[in-house]
């Protein structure tokens, strides 16, 4: 049998970063082919190449045996490749049926728009994918899962030979996810090939026929899903046993450093969040994307005004209404989306490191450049920031090193509580390991750490306790010894309300 899609020796570099180092992959008709790998392993780059959005530096793509040259997005679409990205790429100010028609519409006489037919067609498609919205609804009024269904309807409409789904369940609730699995199964039965990217192993075991594992831009091989275990996949993805990735931590957990009681911020969707964080403790904050973890952190840090609840730092009741107050109380927040807000791209390493504690490198109200360089140099060495010097603009550093600079900045404020929001998102496995070591060191020095992460393995591997959020509330708090991926996922999906 000729595979629908064959990719041979695909290489792609961005500047000096080699994203793909000779990846080969074949996907057959009637197959759901799982693609797994850590963030930054090259999954997204690979599917962007299949979608024609990126050109590979080297390698060949064959569709049903025919080599394809210079794939563009339009060509990819016309060849029957449909890509459903994590973030739906729809036109928000157009209706559902217009969005579907834009992708593909049979020609009419005089190119007239037959609105009735267009809407009817959209309605049929929507019912096929199990969506109950009106074709005339504006996309901007739809929820994320609904938009995803529109994307899937587009793929179904195009009768794609190859459907690529990039983490389609990342923002879906359970019912929507099951509906999605049904559609994927239907696509497979109709003879289409499906490339399915997900971090959720359970669904891969349920859905996929084969799996290809990527690590650091290389393929670790393709295996029948039935022959794999959870452990096998993790080992292939990270290249070492889980225990080796996360540092062993045996630190004493001290008195409470932060107590949050019934914290509520209705406008940001945070409801009645309570927990206690102790000195030297890593409290994992798990939950699906959109479960309110970041919103909670921003409320705690004074970036959004809380409507109710109380906060106590070191046993004293406090009010936090601005980041300046939070800082003064010894809170530090390393935000998500480091590329945009974690560091100041125009500033060199030194100025980024000292930005939140300029008074410590000032003398008599004036900046002391020697002191600044010395301090920045200290942190650069301690955090093993790979930069030619502290004068290098952080723009020129890799993601992992930017994250280290961001961490260094907050550490310099000598916080009592450190909130880390997705600290290892999009950085390579080596840098990740270093960040984990740092988190361990900081906890050992008595800092209370709140670790927000969407990577289950990370939360499980690093936390002493795990608070799982669902729909803006804490669905449960699990002790390290009682936490496993399954329980956390159940809580995150809102299934059960177990706690300690």
């Amino acid at each position: 049998m000729i595979p629908v899609l064959e990719a041979v020796g695909i290489r792609k570099s961005f500047g000096g970063v080699r994203a793909l180092r000779g990846v080969s992959l074949e996907v057959c008709a009637g197959e759901v082919h799982a693609l797994v790998g850590e963030n930054g392993a090259g999954k997204s780059t690979l599917i962007k190449i299949f979608a024609g959005a990126l050109q590979p530096d080297e390698g060949e793509i064959r569709l049903e045996g025919t080599p394809i040259e210079h794939l563009t997005p339009a060509k990819s679409k016309s060849l029957g490749i449909a890509v459903i990205y994590q973030q739906p790429a729809l036109f928000p100010d157009l209706t559902v049926s217009e969005n579907i028609a834009l992708a593909h519409e049979p020609p009419t006489a005089f190119r007239r728009i037959d609105w009735r037919k267009r809407n009817e067609h959209a309605a049929t498609l929507l019912s096929r994918v199990g969506a109950d919205m009106l074709p005339q609804a504006y996309v901007s009024s739809l929820s994320m899962p609904e938009q995803q269904l529109v994307e899937i309807a587009k793929a179904v409409d195009a009768e794609a030979r190859l459907v690529i789904m990039d983490e389609p369940t990342a923002s879906l609730g359970d019912r929507d996810a099951e509906n999605l699995f049904r559609i994927v199964d239907e696509l497979r039965k109709s003879g289409a090939a499906v490339i399915y990217i997900s971090h959720r192993f359970e669904e891969l075991f349920a859905l996929a026929n084969r799996v290809t594992v990527l690590r650091d831009g290389e393929s670790m091989g393709t295996f029948p899903m039935a022959e794999m275990t959870n452990r096998d996949l993790v080992r292939l993805m990270v290249g070492r046993e889980m225990e080796a990735v996360f540092p062993e931590r045996n630190c004493t957990i001290g008195e409470p450093v932060l107590e949050v009681r019934h914290l509520t911020c209705v406008s940001r969707g945070v409801h009645d969040v309570s927990f206690v964080l102790r000195r030297g403790e890593v409290l994992g904050l798990a939950g699906l994307v959109g479960s309110g973890r970041t919103q909670f952190a921003e409320t705690l840090f004074g970036l959004s005004r809380a409507d109710g609840g109380s906060i106590a730092v070191g046993g004293k009741a406090v009010r936090i209404e601005s980041p300046q107050q939070a800082l003064a109380l010894g809170l530090a927040y390393v935000p998500e989306d480091r590329r945009r807000h974690g560091v100041i791209m125009d500033f060199p390493v030194s100025m980024n490191t000292t930005l939140a504690s300029l008074e410590r490198v000032s003398r008599g109200g004036f900046l002391d450049f020697t002191a600044e360089r010395r301090v920045a140099e200290e942190y650069r060495e301690r955090f093993r920031v790979k930069a030619p010097s502290v004068d290098t603009p952080v723009r020129n550093l890799s993601g992992g090193n930017q994250q280290k600079v961001s961490l260094a900045r907050w550490l310099m404020t000598e916080p009592r509580v450190l909130i880390l929001d997705e600290p290892t998102q999009g950085i390579d496995i080596g840098a990740k390991h270093e960040i984990y070591m740092l988190i361990g060191e900081l906890a050992a020095r008595g800092i209370g750490i709140i670790l927000i992460s969407s990577e289950l393995a990370e939360v499980l591997g690093m936390s002493d306790r795990i608070a799982v959020m669902h729909a803006g509330r804490v669905a449960g708090v699990l002790d390290r010894n009682h936490a496993d991926a399954h329980t956390v996922m159940e809580l995150a999906l809102g299934h059960a309300a177990v706690g300690d």
């Binding site: 970063v17 980041p323 807000h341 974690g342 100041i344 125009d346 500033f347 109200g365 900046l367 020129n396």
Partner: protein
């Protein structure tokens, strides 16, 4: 020195080449009197451009400085005529300018209105309010000691030059050495990141507008004392002059960077073109065209330079 000139390099080279060319083509350009006249004419532009640099660094813009200039001049004249001690005039200018700058800054940073619209509105509103109040009449019958603060021309000029130089150098020094100025650059680079780093970004933006207002007020008074009466239509086009000087000085209009040394070079470069044309016996109509050309060249240089800077990340 290398650090000092990085981005303002284009302006600096152009200025140097132009000055060398003038030394051969029109040596009389370098007469003391001429240089003094040029400096005198550009003192207020330099003060305003200094403030404008900071506003542009925080990624905002103020196009109302021309109107602020006119108001402060007229108010200064009226206060002098009303009996305010002459030595207090510069402080009165600073106070009025700060208040008007605070109005701009408040609307921009606390009401979150876009600065180009806010200052367009205040530019028109203040100018029209002034026209309405004065009926277009100049402030005349000023006290005898109004001109040159009653010091006489030579001493007055010395005061003018030294005050401007001291102020410029102080702000230049502060921009390197004060933590507060680093907040300005951080806010301009990435306001959200700066806010997350604990910087009160609203206050920073507000302060930049107050500062440009204060400097405009001072510039206006220092300019007014050169004449025996105060025109009601002063300062037209000052906003473009100062923005142009800032941009030619290597400060990108998108904010986040820029050095005051560059702005000084920008003011000098744009300021000598007019007088130089006279000495080169060319039509003064060329002035604007050449200034426009210089702005275009520096902006192009800037675009190329920042493209080269944004190399991909190190592996």
């Amino acid at each position: 020195m290398r650090k000092l000139l990085q981005r303002e390099f284009a302006g600096f080279i152009t200025l140097a080449l132009f000055l060398i060319y003038l030394a051969f083509a029109a040596p009389s350009f370098y007469s003391l009197g001429n240089l003094r006249d040029i400096a005198l004419a550009n003192v207020s532009v330099l003060l305003i451009s200094t403030g404008m640099t900071l506003v542009i660094v925080v990624a905002e813009i103020d196009i109302s400085v021309g109107s602020l200039f006119a108001i402060c001049g007229v108010c200064g004249g009226l206060l002098a005529r009303g009996g305010l001690p002459i030595w207090m005039l510069p402080f009165a200018g600073i106070a009025i300018g700060s208040a008007l700058g605070a109005a701009n800054g408040g609307l921009v940073s606390f009401v979150k209105a876009p600065s180009i619209v806010v200052t367009l509105a205040t530019m028109v509103a203040w100018r029209e309010a002034l026209n309405w109040a004065t009926g277009g009449a100049w402030v005349e019958n000023l006290p005898a000691n109004f001109q040159w603060f009653g010091l006489g021309q030579a001493a007055g000029e010395a005061v003018l030059f030294s005050a401007t130089a001291v102020l410029f150098l102080a702000i230049l020094w502060a921009s390197h050495n004060l933590p507060a100025f680093r907040s300005i650059y951080a806010t301009g680079s990435d306001a959200e990141a700066a806010r997350l780093a604990g910087i009160n970004t609203k206050l920073v933006v507000f302060a930049a507008f107050v500062l440009v207002g204060a400097l405009t007020g001072l510039a206006s008074v220092l300019n007014a004392v050169r004449f025996s009466d105060v025109p009601a239509n002063a300062g037209i086009g000052l906003e473009l002059q100062s923005i142009a000087a800032v941009v030619v000085g290597g400060t990108p209009i998108t904010g986040g960077r820029g050095r005051l040394m560059g702005t000084l070079i920008g003011v000098a470069l744009l300021g000598i073109i007019g007088p130089a044309l006279t000495y080169l016996q060319l039509s003064p109509y060329w002035e604007k065209a050449i200034q426009g050309g210089i702005i275009l060249v520096t902006v192009l240089f800037d675009a190329l330079a920042s493209r080269a800077e944004k190399r991909p990340a190190l592996a």
